[in-house]
Subunit: 345 residues, 2 copies
Amino acid sequence: MSSIRDVAREAGVSVATVSRALSMPEKVSEEAMNKVHRAIEKVGYRPNMLARNFRSARSYAIVVLVPDIANPFYSLVIRAIEDRAQQKGYAVLLGDTRGTPERELEYIRRVETRLADGLLQLRPHSEKTHNVIPPDIATVNACGCEYTTGPSVRIDNRGAAKTIVDYLISLGHRRIGAISGLKDNPHAIDRMKGYKESLAEHGIPFDPDLVAEGDFTMWSGLNSAFQFCHMKNRPTAIFSTNDEMAIGAIQTLKSQGIRVPEDMSVTGFDDIAYAKYTDPSLTTMSQPAEEMGKMAMDMLLKIIEGEPLTQTECVLPTEFIIRKSTAPAPGAELPNTPKKVTPAP
Amino acid sequence: MSSIRDVAREAGVSVATVSRALSMPEKVSEEAMNKVHRAIEKVGYRPNMLARNFRSARSYAIVVLVPDIANPFYSLVIRAIEDRAQQKGYAVLLGDTRGTPERELEYIRRVETRLADGLLQLRPHSEKTHNVIPPDIATVNACGCEYTTGPSVRIDNRGAAKTIVDYLISLGHRRIGAISGLKDNPHAIDRMKGYKESLAEHGIPFDPDLVAEGDFTMWSGLNSAFQFCHMKNRPTAIFSTNDEMAIGAIQTLKSQGIRVPEDMSVTGFDDIAYAKYTDPSLTTMSQPAEEMGKMAMDMLLKIIEGEPLTQTECVLPTEFIIRKSTAPAPGAELPNTPKKVTPAP
DNA sequence: TTGTAAGCGTTATCAG
DNA sequence: CTGATAACGCTTACAA
């Protein structure tokens, strides 16, 4: 519990010199430097960061607001954020909101009360169900959507979804079921837009009976798929707005004796690590999770440090990964099997 | 940026009264209370927690040291920790070490410099490869092993592993391959002990050729399995020390035309969410991830607050989950198929 | 290059 | 119950 004073006394210099030796070494003589370091060693001094942060009115911490840390896509983004933060000397406060506005508010308060210098959001902001972020708070959205306001990093969810459905249609599918996220989830909304756009473009009428509402969990994918199994005129393909629901859906299909992809194709979204190891492996849209986290962190740091933002919205490219869960529609006659699909911008 | 002074002036009371109104409301008259709250509202006051923490020499934060946040088992534990921390008014600093002692040290420093009040470790401590935690730091291990020193929460890794291998043997398996974690990983060591114990108990000689060293990733499981496929006298079952390696291994086996479980049984460890959705679904040992995080957090809080610990080591029960990835050994004659297996203590 | 001393926003200690 | 005031450990003008 020794303080800077003890070091100063031991070294025979002033506290100012000790302070400077620690934070502006170039302004201290070599001799003083040595004395200080010896003294630090001797008294076992550790600077009190609480005091330093207080004095400099900065916490060197940011909070990450995430709907669910156990979601593998989010944990990838967070890992990248943490990595970057550590490099820059910032700490990451974990803010798992579990979808509740109350918990979210707690974390917003943490930055209002100076416990954090900024806020990184991993879920698109929907004013209806979430708190509005006070305007004086430095914040960046790392997983934005089309209508995200304020600085954000995102992918083209709509375009990426359209790419997937275009592909399904090119395989001869005409009845394509969709497993959406919750109705007011901005990611689900954007992706469903792409789904509808693709259908419209190919002259396929949109059928509301063909969309099931999930909540991005495997469990909900499992349940949603039942709805499609027992239809009189069941779809030949399922477009899921994320990988876990697709994995759950495949499970159900198999249990009902429906072969994937021979009888029904299934696509995911995110390309989580498990997508490659399911049976069959999952055709899906890969998001640059690491890059998203890293870029968002860099943007937030700029805002915090008062540097100008070169661009306020950053749309990153996705990659369409074709694996084994998709095949030509049963009985479809294809002019030629598509070899290549342009990735979403 | 208004301070407690502004509130005091506005309310016509002293700063001491404002401070008390906020942290010891029972010691303030109702009248003063009202004046203060009106003033707070009016000037838009938010207490500066940096100052409060500095003054009270507490950060109300803990750091969680985790080898890899993207590991689904760890993210479950962390979610529970965060939940508990939030309830108790503590923040969680994410410390993803990526296995490097340097990053680990950075986080240990954070608690030495008062930026956190305590340390929760999610990996067993092995003195050889990790920093030693200074004795004056409040710390609890949430995923301990047999030889973890200091307060810890853990499961009986050895016993649980033995339960699995006992089961395999009861199915008639005699040549049982093992995919271990890295040699010096304490979890891997404990679990491999259980493996060997079970073999010994059943009079099956231990064969070093039958153990592959993985690193707990799916990728390493995938590679390890190849080693078993191409053996002259290949095993009829694989005991993997975690689920991801088991999932990777199954992938390899299938690709090599080896049916699971008909030709070869595979077992995992952890029971991550995906274990239920692989094909075939995975027989594995379920760890009480949430409970482990919650208990460890409670213990750490007690240490921080100076309360006595009722017990310093807490061993939680596991549950053996038999799914579809295990079956009787090919050609084995079983006296009677085992119906029930006693779970590890 | 170094030292002196004035804060930073709170809480805690004393008197009143 | 309330108010004045001294810390808390550090940074940073300003002076030397």
